[in-house]
């Protein structure tokens, strides 16, 4: 089974096995990392599943939609690597993906 690597807010790195077809948000939360709140449950209406994707993988992801872009723009921590993890669907090609949980917005 393919894995992703997740760096939590305290700097720890964990590997999480995922099923292709699930979203990055699902993989992270089901992997037991509860600091990713994902309050809206993955319907692209909040920005509480914000992560930073390692630039080495950026080209393998689908582009950011206008809706995702709009929600991310409300975060004080937005940067080039920002993504809403509920909008990233995991495929075999993303095995090894490295992401960091973004700091929480106030």
């Amino acid at each position: 089974m393919p894995e992703i690597r997740v760096i939590t807010r305290d700097g720890d790195q964990q590997s999480i096995v995922f099923t292709p077809g699930t979203t990055l948000m699902q993989a992270i939360t089901e992997g037991g990392i509860h600091e990713l709140q994902a309050l809206c449950g993955g319907v692209c209406s909040c920005a509480t599943c914000h992560v930073f994707v390692d630039p080495a993988f950026a080209a393998r992801l689908d582009a950011v939609s206008d809706d995702e872009d709009g929600l991310l723009s409300g975060s004080a921590h937005r940067c080039e690597q920002s993504r809403l993890s509920c909008q990233v669907r995991l495929t075999e090609q993303l095995a090894g993906l490295l992401v960091t949980i973004a700091p929480e917005d106030e």
């Binding site: 099923t19 292709p20 077809g21 699930t22 979203t23 699902q26 939360t29 089901e30 509860h34 709140q37 309050l39 809206c40 449950g41 993955g42 319907v43 692209c44 209406s45 909040c46 206008d66 809706d67 709009g70 929600l71 509920c86 669907r89």
Partner: protein, 428 residues
């Protein structure tokens, strides 16, 4: 009533708990955040942390009973540390609806991937004009009469027509749908005899609407349009597979049904709060930007879903507590939203509480309400028009009694927190 008598009431059938379920939850919480209901084997989860833990643990807790509840004995004796096979065999007897809310695992994830894309900010923005024009029209008519019964005259028609518009249900069919929905018992119905009334078996609203949705979706596969039904007709699962049309028919009907009742109840719960608190009402009238935070606090204190239900698929834990496979849980969202460990002075209505959006009114985890963004928008829209067109809104004393001694009637449901009616006097 003393606490012991209260906690021994049957939550699933005792209609004396409808007026103030919160007192029952409070007394149960005092016994423990996870505590057996009526001394039986169904656990009531009233703690915030514990509720979040259960809702997020969709591996160990199945949603098969999410809407049927746990009022009847289990139709089987759980055997062993993992009852997955028994859950499959007995799904029908468990009252499992073959719908998104009751699905687990990949079956749920596949369908949710489609449902999760329906109420995006872009699509909701596109309905802004329709939603506000319609709200304005309904409110102006009501204000010109000087009174209204908001649940049935305003809330239900409004949310029904909004979701019909978004989905793309033709205008000529919308009234037919409303008629069957209005005639059906509420979700989590406490009156079991309703189910046996009448000699000939009738189609449920979902079955009735399903016949129409089957036609719409077939048509959209041939003739795509710019609506949600077309999105549903063309959607594929994450692995690229085209879903069975029946699955999309059920999803459409569910969105239509679920999309209306809980939103309508939320609107009336919010309006009751506003009508009974003139200072808050005036504050909102002067600053409509406070409507969304007000709504979040209403969702916390009086969201329209009191509880959802889970069954342990395998031996597991909540916190340090052992849970055996086959144990059932009533996850009291309404209680978790008043857990004093999580919320300071939880019974108090406060605008702009810190981290208010973490309330559980829409659930948490994979089954979080996909329609929440729509519900928030449509309820805020109509409240805004009510406040704009009135100088004062109050409860009708003829119908509900004088202030301090109000009579309110809630629908007989162990799931829904919803007024059966709410009569208002509208001054302008």
């Amino acid at each position: 009533m003393n606490a012991d008598a209260l906690i021994h009431k049957d939550y699933f059938t005792d209609q004396s708990l409808l007026l103030d379920p919160y007192e029952y939850f409070r007394q149960m919480y005092a016994k423990g955040p996870v505590y057996p209901m009526g001394g039986g084997d169904v656990l009531l989860v009233t703690g915030f942390e514990e509720a979040v833990e259960v809702l997020r643990n969709n591996r160990d807790f199945s949603s098969a009973i999410s809407t049927s509840g746990a009022g009847d004995p289990l139709p089987f004796t759980p055997e062993g540390a993992d009852i997955s096979a028994q859950l499959d065999v007995f799904s029908e007897q468990l009252g499992m609806l073959n719908l998104l809310v009751s699905y687990d695992g990949m079956q749920h994830a596949n369908l949710r991937a489609i449902a999760g894309n329906l109420f995006t900010p872009t699509r909701l923005k596109a309905t802004h004009t329709f939603m506000h024009d319609f709200a304005d029209q309904l409110v102006r008519e009501a204000v010109s009469r000087g009174r209204c019964e908001i649940v049935n005259e305003i809330a239900t028609p409004f949310v029904t027509l909004v979701v019909a518009e978004i989905l793309g249900v033709p205008p000529e069919d919308r009234d037919k749908f409303r008629a069957v929905i209005d005639a059906a018992p509420p979700a989590g119905n406490m009156n079991k005899e309703d189910a046996n009334e009448g000699a000939a078996p009738q189609l449920s609203p979902l079955e009735y609407m399903g016949l129409f949705f089957f036609e719409y979706l077939n048509d959209r596969r041939e003739h795509p349009r710019d609506d949600v039904l077309t999105h549903l007709a063309q959607a594929t699962y994450p692995d690229g597979e085209l879903p069975d049309l029946l699955e999309m028919v059920k999803l459409s009907g569910f969105l239509f049904g679920a999309g209306q009742d809980t939103s309508a109840k939320l609107l009336s719960n919010a309006m009751r709060r506003i009508a009974e608190d003139p200072a808050l009402q005036q504050q909102l009238r002067e600053d409509p930007a406070l409507i969304p935070p007000m709504l979040e606090e209403v969702l916390r204190l009086e969201g329209s879903t009191k509880a959802t239900f889970r069954i342990a698929r395998r031996d597991t834990k909540i916190g340090g507590m052992d849970i055996r496979a086959g144990m059932r849980l009533t996850v009291a969202l309404a209680a978790a939203n008043r857990d004093p460990r999580r919320w300071e002075n939880p019974e108090e209505f406060r605008l702009n509480r810190p981290r208010i959006k973490e309330h559980l009114a829409f659930g948490r985890g994979v089954h979080t309400c996909a329609g929440a963004p729509l519900a928030r928008l449509e309820v805020a829209a109509i409240l805004q028009h009510f406040l704009q067109h009135t100088t004062h809104i109050s409860l009708c004393a003829e119908k509900h009694g004088p202030p301090g001694n109000r009579h309110l009637e809630y629908e007989p449901s162990f799931i829904i927190r919803g007024l059966a009616n709410l009569h208002l006097v509208l001054e302008s």
